[in-house]
């Protein structure tokens, strides 16, 4: 095992509250073109392609088939799709490269939350017999988690507000972010969470190119080597989980080698300020680590692409020489049920 594989290119859309005038394919195509341009590769040069998206956001079965048309899959390509965040599509592509069947991979993800109420849509992820009929929305579930964390002494509302303010201030430097600058913490959405504690609802897409070994060095001046990547899932019912902890993140991080040496950067897929507090604690990130310099999901959260964007942002900092060892995290399910951790490194300078 352990073929050297790197993220060699990353592109994303500008994330926006609505994109009524664009289909998913129209939203995605410029991103695909940009990420391929960065490497000089064409679709036909790519060894494996994998995408992440959700039919439930698109409101249509087999919605990913149209996105595939946008890739230009002719002549036929070796391709797959996960009905998950694009971070897991990247994992599948990484596995494929590990088998030696391919040397390069294109990974993309997209999601439009604007056509519906994403808070309501996400309730359809819950146990369909006992929980989903009650329509507990995603913000309400996160608020339960946030209150449990406050009750346990893990944080307080001013500390949460500071996380939100820092994220939006950092997002000023990110032209793709949806919320930037001094955004007010706002009114309570669901106590104890205010609007400023919650990620914005938005539409967007992202794409990444992976390459193995020397191929990566040919395609990128400073490849972001994936030193480890792992993901773990927890029980579904939030009543049987310790909500103030994230054991699946800890386990994934261990397996990915995150604790072997300190990281300088962490891109965390925390859709709520309280979740960043939990993830920092579990991952042992102290003040020396630059957390979410992109603004994170609190500045832009296109569902199904937001996790892949964390990997892309972490890699891009390595490409630019702003980081030597970065951690990227993606999550899925209510209250951090499923978590993926990747550790990325640049060549020594």
């Amino acid at each position: 095992m352990n073929r050297e594989i790197a993220v060699v290119a990353f592109a994303q859309t500008d994330h926006r509250r609505t994109s009524d005038e664009l289909s998913e394919v129209e939203m995605l195509m410029p991103v695909l073109h940009r990420v391929l341009e960065q490497t000089g590769l064409k679709t036909s040069d790519i060894g494996f392609t994998c995408s992440g998206s959700s039919d439930y956001l698109a409101g249509r079965a087999f919605s990913f088939t149209l996105a595939l048309d946008g890739v230009g899959a002719w002549p036929p390509i070796s391709e797959s799709h996960v009905e998950m965040d694009g971070a897991w599509a990247l994992y599948e592509a990484w596995v494929k490269l590990q088998t030696g069947d391919a040397d390069t991979a294109l990974v993309y993800a997209y999601g439009k939350s604007s056509p519906g109420s994403v808070r309501d849509v996400l309730t359809r992820q819950l146990d369909p017999y006992y929980v989903a009929p009650l329509w507990p929305d995603s913000v309400a579930l996160a608020a339960l988690q946030a209150q449990a964390l406050i009750d346990a002494g893990g944080t307080d509302e001013p500390a949460l507000a500071a996380v939100g303010a820092r994220s939006r201030a950092d997002a000023v430097a990110n032209s793709h972010a949806q919320l930037r600058g001094s955004v007010p913490q706002g009114e309570y959405l669901v106590r104890p969470l205010r609007t400023g504690d919650c990620s914005p609802v938005g539409d967007g897409a992202a794409a990444v190119v992976l390459a193995a070994g020397e191929r990566a060095r040919d395609l990128c001046e400073r490849p972001a080597w994936i030193r480890g990547i792992d993901h773990r899932i927890e029980a579904h019912g939030i009543g049987v989980r310790e909500l103030t902890d994230s054991p699946s993140t800890r386990l994934a991080a261990e397996q990915a080698g995150a604790f072997e040496r300190p990281v300088d950067t962490a891109e965390l897929h925390a859709s709520f300020t309280s979740q960043e507090v939990i993830l920092r604690e579990v991952l042992g990130l102290d003040d020396r680590v630059r957390v979410n310099p992109s603004g994170g999901a609190l500045a832009a959260n296109p569902v199904m692409a937001a996790g892949l964007i964390r990997i892309g942002e972490a890699a891009a900092r390595i490409h630019r020489g702003e980081s030597d060892r970065a951690l990227a995290h993606a999550t899925s399910g209510p209250c951090l049920q499923q978590n993926l951790v990747a550790v990325l490194e640049g060549d020594p300078r």
Partner: protein, 388 residues
């Protein structure tokens, strides 16, 4: 770099029926998973990762059901992934799981696919229209019927071939205790007298809507040594995709299907599939797809596939049996249908297919396709470990 050989050491499926009202979705998948573990004589603790697949979430109305199913599949604390590649998903899911073993990331992996169509209505689940897009308002049959017509025109096949396939597959299903349709009084005349749904596709030439799940335990060489029963060894596996609709697409024999098969044969060292492959579990949701895919998969020259069917070659006791289990025509839990093909291929080379066993089956192809004949996944399994 050399890949780890991948072995199938456990197969489990549910008795497929129109509606499993006695179990939840979680209960259904757990039943198949337990049977696969029992076959391998393993416990949940032996499983390092779970890869699950199903067709669109709208078929049950549960978004990303792997989240809710994590507990039922013993996945808590483990990696769990969800694959979705339309009708080919069952095959793709197995191939993703196989890659985890081949790349030596995990030693033993559980892979599972399911559909509980009774929770919803698959035809309408496929028919949510969006602007400026041709809606599949009559389900899949309306989409595929013109392609069957094109095949008949191109090949000169007589219009009796489709009914022969349906009659054969439904008789094969009688030998498979897990098959959904057990039509004990089936006759060729009954198939031919059934109502025309989407000309030229008759009612008895279409697949049913099933509830069901299938699971496999995949493992490495060391795991295969410990297995209590014979293993099926993966000799080749591939996926290929092409766009849904475009000028120049050959809907009768898609290039993605031909190239996918060629890749599998290359990996398995097969030069002449017609001679070197003993049997095929083929994804045939409408009967005419048997002769069409016989050509697409390289078992017959262009325009000749129907002659193999007509001459009885694809019968259970023929020279190249196709859909020994009864196939998708007899059992169609959509998201599971592809993996059932893969699993039935494995059962054949393990010699564990029961009454529908092909004597001496050493190399068997499992085949799946999906979307508008645009997604293909296949694997070839053998009774012996791969030599290279």
């Amino acid at each position: 770099m050399s890949k780890e050989p991948v072995a199938v050491v456990g197969v489990g499926q549910t008795k497929h029926v129109a509606a499993r009202r006695d179990v939840s979705i979680a209960g259904l998948v757990r039943e198949a998973a337990r049977r696969a573990l029992d076959d391998a004589e393993l416990t949940w603790a032996d499983i390092e990762a779970v890869v699950i697949g199903k067709a669109p979430d709208f078929f049950e109305g549960v978004m990303m059901p792997e989240l809710y199913l994590a507990d039922a599949l013993g996945a808590v604390g483990k990696p769990m992934m969800r694959v979705h590649t339309a009708g080919s998903v069952g095959g793709s899911t197995a191939l993703v799981a196989a890659s985890l073993v081949a790349a030596r990331i995990h030693g033993t992996v559980l892979t599972l696919a399911f559909e509980k169509q009774s929770e919803s209505n698959a035809m309408w689940g496929l028919s949510l229209p969006i602007p400026f897009q041709q809606p599949l308002l009559a389900g899949a049959g309306g989409f595929f019927a013109p392609h069957v017509r094109a095949y008949m025109r191109r090949s000169g096949a007589p219009d009796t071939v489709g009914s022969l396939v349906a009659y054969k597959n439904r008789r094969n299903a009688l030998k498979n205790p897990y098959a959904h349709l057990h039509e004990h009084d089936i006759t060729l005349e009954k198939v031919q007298a059934s109502p025309m749904l989407w000309d030229p596709i008759r009612y008895s030439e279409t697949c049913p809507s099933s509830d069901g799940a299938v699971a496999m335990v995949l493992t490495d060489r060391a795991g295969a040594v410990r297995a209590p029963r014979p293993a099926a060894w993966m000799h080749g596996g591939a996926m290929r995709s092409e766009p849904t609709l475009f000028a120049g697409k050959d809907s009768v024999s898609p290039r993605a299907g031909r190239e996918c098969a060629a890749d599998v044969y290359r990996q398995a060292g097969i030069a002449d599939p017609r001679r070197e492959i003993d049997a095929v579990e083929m994804y045939v949701p409408f009967s005419w797809y048997e002769p069409m895919w016989l050509e697409n998969l390289g078992f017959a020259d262009e325009g000749e596939g129907w002659k193999l069917t007509e001459s009885g070659v694809t019968e259970l006791d023929g020279d190249l049996p196709v859909d020994m289990s009864g196939g998708v025509l007899s059992t169609n839990p959509i998201g599971a249908s592809g993996m059932i093909r893969f699993a039935e291929a494995a059962l054949q080379v393990r010699g564990l297919a029961g009454e529908h066993q092909v004597a001496g089956a050493r190399r068997v192809l499992g085949h799946a396709y999906g979307g508008g004949s645009q997604f293909f996944s296949m694997w070839l399994v053998g009774a012996e470990p791969p030599t290279s």
